[in-house]
Amino acid sequence: MSPTWSSLTVGDQLPERQFPIQRADLIKYAGASLDFNLIHWNERVALEVGLPNVVAHGMLTMAKAVQVVTEWTGDPGCIIEYGCRFTRPVVVPDNSAGALLFVTGSVTALNDDGTVQVTLTATCDGATVLGKAQVLVRLPRQ
């Protein structure tokens, strides 16, 4: 069942999710988004600019994190607003495991206009990778 505005309470937790991110995912995202910045797929260049290794596109991390919300509501079209800061890069080593993104979400406001604010946390190896990650969702009242 999709959540409704009236069924929610501030503090409610959304189902948490883990997202593996491998090198192949970065190549796929580069192609789909047309963001071909070398630091997202070329280890030599990533090291040259001082990164520990190839890093995921911030926008890929952002796109994955909000799936905690779109899976919860069942409809990506109910996202009205979504913003975050990119606080730390997600380093993706060249091995079979890659990186593991861990995302939680909680209801932080129920607004009178029928919208719901969800705040996300996104961590990788215990370190926060997205800051002030907030989503505004429109849900059915009942």
Binding site: L34, A63, I79
Partner: protein, 147 residues
Amino acid sequence: MNQDWIGRTVPASNTYVVGREKIREFAVAIGEVSPVCTDVDAARQAGYADVIAPPTFAIVMSMRALSTVIHDPDLGLDFARVVHGDQRFRHQRPIVAGDELRVDITIESIRSMAGNDILSARADITDASGQAVCSTWSTLVAREAAA
């Protein structure tokens, strides 16, 4: 950076036609599993005219429009040092396959902080009938050059 650019709007030079396969490709690349992004029948059952784009898809067209601005030598942004600082989307409605969209870029602010140049830009995305579809805000940070 050239402060004269603050407040300047760069109107769209062309439109972005949203393809159904492009939406599917983007949804698969990010791992979005909702059928309304990939299955036309599911999207229509949910009340949409065609498959809808995931919430961050607008970055594809807003970055394309913004990239022409940030590579303008008169702006003076050192693109080799740029990282994405923050990002926000506000949707009036979901982007739907078949939309023909225009993207107008406005430079909202240019600041300098601790040696970094910080550029904030807004992209206003409108459909063929002139209705607002989505606005995106991007902050790009050009890190201080190594000494």
